[in-house]
């Protein structure tokens, strides 16, 4: 049997080579589909990796609480973290207080991300965000100042720290300390400008280069006194204490939530989830392209295989007369369709990486290359070849040998 498979593969190679243009055109659908999937996975993997690297570089003692139950890691690829604008958070100020009182917790910084107009000399572009938090954020997330100072508890409520790019967008300069800007119509004084981060994909899901950071109380004031905490960042006093502390936090917050599993305490790689709007668009768009081209490609394979079977009716008759069983004939044609889909898949995999690297040259991270993506591409190709090749192959096998032998064509 193993030997017969080798033979079928050789036969398929030969048959595909003899109708090269036809096979190439048939492969195209699979190629496009697989390359979209490869590009999505490589880029989202790259985004995840860069966030993971950040967390590692922060010292390995960071934990994050997010609203909602624990998310299935597989859905990371397609599903993105809920959009800040619409999310109703289950996290409260009481939770922040509770976490602060857990032993070994060194710092706590809640994040309340708001949208809204930011206006200086000119109006900031729509991607800019208003973030309300506590002074600890600077330490937890490694935010360094270009000038001025970060928030601290002694400052007046109408103080704001702005990102480097936002400063340029609002005032045409990186040096804007002391200037006045309007957040949702209220006046705030710039007390500091952050150093350029160049890091739009991070575990805070905030592009700090384009953010205005205000105190938590001020943020509440801007939001009709409603707290809306998207995330609570926590730093423990040591790496070895992280795991036990996370457990204590889990328990303590759970009491606040009356045992409801509507929040998750995340550490390490689980924190990383890319949330760039651009990324969501690209991923969504290419998933749709992938699905459609895989379907069209599959139908193309089926069509070509049916034509091939019809063309080779006499060959099937001869082969049966010479001792081929129905299973032999089924395998022969199934392997031929698998050869088309797998060649298409391999081409698509390579092409997908070309696309991913091209796109990533406009982004701040590189695509990842790992065996999982290769495995996904290969598996999808194999499934395609099987699903769309099985019917033509069984049709070939069920042909009557005598009728096949004496068919005119």
């Amino acid at each position: 049997m193993r030997f017969l498979l080798i033979n079928h593969v050789q036969n398929a190679q030969q048959s595909l080579r003899s109708s090269r243009i036809r096979s190439t055109l048939t492969m195209l659908g699979v190629t496009i589909g697989i390359s979209s999937i490869t590009a999505i996975l490589a880029l989202s993997g790259g985004a995840n990796k860069i966030v993971g690297d950040q967390i590692d570089s922060l010292g390995g003692n960071i934990a994050v609480i997010r609203p909602g139950g624990t998310i299935d890691p597989l859905s990371n690829i397609t599903k993105n973290q809920s959009n800040h604008d619409y999310a109703t958070s289950t996290l409260t100020e009481a939770d922040v207080t509770t976490v602060k009182s857990v032993p070994n917790v060194q710092m706590v910084a809640p994040l309340m991300v708001l949208s809204g107009t930011i206006r200086g000399d000119s109006t900031a572009p729509s991607g800019s965000q208003i973030v309300a938090t506590t002074p600890s954020l600077a330490d937890i997330s490694n935010l360094n100042m270009r000038e001025g100072q970060f928030l601290d508890n002694a400052l007046k409520k109408d103080s704001v720290v702005i990102g480097n790019q936002l400063s340029i967008n609002l005032f045409g300069t990186e040096a804007s300390t002391g200037r006045i800007l309007k957040l949702r119509g209220d006046d705030f004084t710039v007390v500091g400008v952050l150093k350029r981060q160049n890091n739009p994909y991070n575990y805070n899901s905030v592009d700090f280069d384009n953010a205005a950071i205000v105190s938590f109380a001020a943020g509440k004031g801007l939001n009709q006194n409603i707290t809306q905490i998207q995330q609570i960042n926590i730093r423990t006093d040591s790496v070895s204490n992280l795991d036990p502390t996370v457990e204590s936090i889990q328990k303590a917050v759970s009491v606040n939530h009356k045992g409801e599993n509507d929040f998750s305490v995340l550490t390490g790689n689980k924190i990383s989830q890319p949330t760039s709007q651009l990324f969501v668009t690209i991923a969504g768009g290419s998933t749709a392209i992938a699905a459609i081209s895989l379907l069209v490609g599959g139908i193309g394979i089926m069509n070509i295989m049916l034509v091939t079977v019809a063309e080779r009716t006499r060959e099937i008759g001869i082969r049966k007369a010479l001792g081929a069983s129905n299973a032999d004939i089924t395998w022969q044609f199934l392997i031929e369709s698998l050869a088309i889909s797998v060649s298409g898949g391999i081409t698509g995999y390579i092409f997908g990486y070309i696309v991913a690297f091209t796109i990533s040259s406009f982004l701040t991270f590189d695509p990842v290359i790992n065996w999982q993506i290769a495995a996904v591409a290969l598996t999808i190709s194999l499934i395609m070849g099987t699903i769309f090749g099985l019917y033509p192959a069984t049709r070939a096998a069920s042909k009557d040998p005598v009728e096949s032998l004496y068919q005119y064509n």
Partner: protein
């Protein structure tokens, strides 16, 4: 009439093959009783349309839908699974069809090696055996030709080479010399004759009465029935020529 020393390989009892239904119904084979023993060389003759090819298809287990009984090596064919029948075709039977024998997209070597695939022989070994076989038929320098680059007679020789490559014990040849001149025909007949001498059973359809000299038994068919059945091995060789001529011109009831 038949040689009783060797065991029967093929046994047909009241074999019938019907085509069409209702008014269009007609019997291409209409009640054939026949016993073929191991080592016989049978020549089947008869006018066009008398059912020779139809019978060969049944004998070769290609046609499963017939009435009557067919026993191969003492086992009824009707009780066998398709897989079992495929295995018998692969291991015991060698086929030469009346026309369109070769697979057009494969070269000669690959065509001849084809039956060996289903016997589970490795590629290098396959090509080696096929190459030797082609040499026997003086086609070795055309191994890599495609079928459309050959003359009709050459195609037929390749087809016979392919039928023999498996070393089958039963060879079914439907007009193997149909397109060949007398010299080429005799090359093929010598090859079949050698196989016959080595103890193989050969069943050959032919329209050429001169070729029946190689056979041990000549059967003539008419309208789906056996008309004459002459076992030449039982007769003195000197009488063969005359006998053939008579079967050719007019049917002779035995």
């Amino acid at each position: 009439m038949s040689d009783t020393k060797t065991p029967p390989v093929i046994k047909l009892r009241n074999l019938k093959k019907r085509f069409g239904i209702g008014d269009a119904e007609h019997f291409a084979i209409n009640g054939i009783d026949l016993t073929i023993r191991r080592g016989e060389f049978i020549a089947i003759m008869g006018p066009s349309g008398c059912g020779k090819t139809t019978m060969m298809n049944i004998l070769g287990l290609l046609d499963r839908s017939f009435d009557g009984d067919y026993e191969l090596d003492g086992k009824p064919v009707k009780g066998m699974t398709r897989r079992k029948q495929a295995r018998i075709r692969s291991q015991q039977i060698g086929f030469v069809f009346q026309s369109f024998n070769l697979i057009p997209r494969l070269n000669l070597l690959e065509n001849v090696a084809l039956p060996l695939i289903y016997k589970g022989i490795t590629k290098t070994k396959r090509l080696e055996i096929a190459s030797n076989m082609l040499r026997n038929f003086h086609l070795n320098e055309r191994e890599y030709y495609m079928p459309h680059q050959l003359s009709g007679g050459q195609v037929q020789r390749v087809a016979i080479a392919r039928a023999l490559v498996n070393e089958p014990s039963i060879i079914l040849a439907d007009e193997p010399t149909g397109n060949l001149d007398s010299r080429a025909s005799h090359i093929i007949m010598e090859e079949l004759s050698n196989l016959h001498k080595r103890g193989n059973t050969i069943i050959m359809v032919t329209h050429n009465p001169r070729l029946t000299t190689y056979a041990s038994r000549v059967i003539t068919m008419l309208d789906g029935q056996i008309e004459t059945d002459n076992n030449l091995a039982a007769n003195p060789p000197s009488r063969r020529g005359r006998k053939k001529d008579s079967t050719k011109t007019k049917g002779k009831k035995k």
